[in-house]
């Protein structure tokens, strides 16, 4: 015998922790860790609901396996985007304000093509009187 309030309470706690992690972190990979916690809370709820004897079609287990697969696909894409962001901007800080007029500072310093861009030069002259 198991009382189902324990798994439900654990799922609620995991979802709350995940929401905290998504909002309170600045590093993009650590934000993803929060997303993983939320997904696992959903999985635990599915498994809990699927362990009742009247659950049809083995739905709890099967949908949990599907969610695990989708999470694997999601995190591979997300990490690819994060790696591209790191190469492009030199950091993965999600709270850093992007400078849309000139591009990121590291990028303009390293990339000579932006120097020849008249719009970028004009923006630089305006910002540095």
């Amino acid at each position: 015998m198991i009382h189902l309030q324990w798994p439900v309470m654990l799922a609620a706690v995991l979802a709350g922790l995940g929401v905290y992690g998504v909002i309170a972190r600045r590093n993009a990979v650590l934000v993803l860790i929060g997303v993983e916690l939320i997904l696992n809370a959903a999985n635990l709820l599915l498994v809990t609901a699927g362990s009742r004897p009247d659950a049809p079609l083995a739905a709890g287990s099967v949908v949990t396996l599907f969610v695990v697969t989708i999470a694997a696909a999601e995190i591979s894409i997300a990490l690819a985007v994060i790696l591209v962001m790191f190469r492009r901007f030199g950091h993965i800080d999600l709270t850093a304000v992007p400078d849309l007029t000139k591009g990121a500072p590291e990028h303009t310093e390293r990339d000579p093509t932006d120097r020849t861009d008249p719009a970028a030069l004009a923006a630089e002259e305006v910002s540095e009187p």
């Binding site: 995940g18 972190r25 709820l45 809990t48 695990v68 696909a73 894409i77």
Partner: protein, 173 residues
């Protein structure tokens, strides 16, 4: 409290504490390692709940693949060793995050505890056997299953394309 209750509470406390450390530690790599502990003990929770197949898949996919991917991403983004003061948002945002997290916990608990939280299940005779899961996947759920294989292929190609396209554009310019 039955034996299963006690075992689940012990494993669940480990899961919740390691999850708390994963979202609150200031060491970047430690966060990924605490996530590993959290997901591993969550697999234990699944096994206590009588779903061995889901627990083993959780171990294989999450602990074996996803945490390793996260660790690789941390390495490739030059994760610094040691405590970092700047990986957390400012204090007011953390307070808001804690409030929202507590609100989420309260919401999920209030929505699901009255529905399935009052029941108690006898798991000593298995409710769903692995054979039933297999026949359900390849019977009722076969089209979602096939779609998932396509989704995995698209994710593979997409992850490759995202990094290659940006690299090619930078080398061209």
């Amino acid at each position: 409290m039955t034996t299963r209750d006690i075992v689940f509470v012990v494993v669940g406390v480990i899961t919740a504490l390691s999850g708390l450390l994963a979202v609150s530690t200031r060491h970047v790599v430690h966060a990924a390692l605490w996530l590993l502990v959290c997901l591993g003990s969550l697999a234990g929770c699944y096994i206590v709940l009588g779903q061995e197949l889901v627990g083993i898949v959780q171990l294989l996919v999450y602990v074996g693949a996803i945490v390793v991917l996260v660790l690789f991403a941390l390495m490739l983004t030059r994760a610094p060793i040691g405590p970092q003061p700047d990986i957390d948002a400012p204090v007011w945002q953390r307070v808001v995050a804690a409030l929202l997290g507590a609100a989420t916990t309260a919401l999920v608990a209030a929505a699901t505890l009255p529905v399935i939280g009052q029941q108690s299940v006898d798991l000593d005779t298995p409710v769903v056997t692995t054979q039933q899961i297999a026949s359900a996947i390849f019977g009722t759920w076969v089209w979602p299953f096939e779609l998932l294989s396509v989704l995995l292929l698209v994710a593979l190609v997409g992850a490759f394309a995202v990094s290659r396209v940006v690299l090619a554009r930078r080398s061209r310019s």
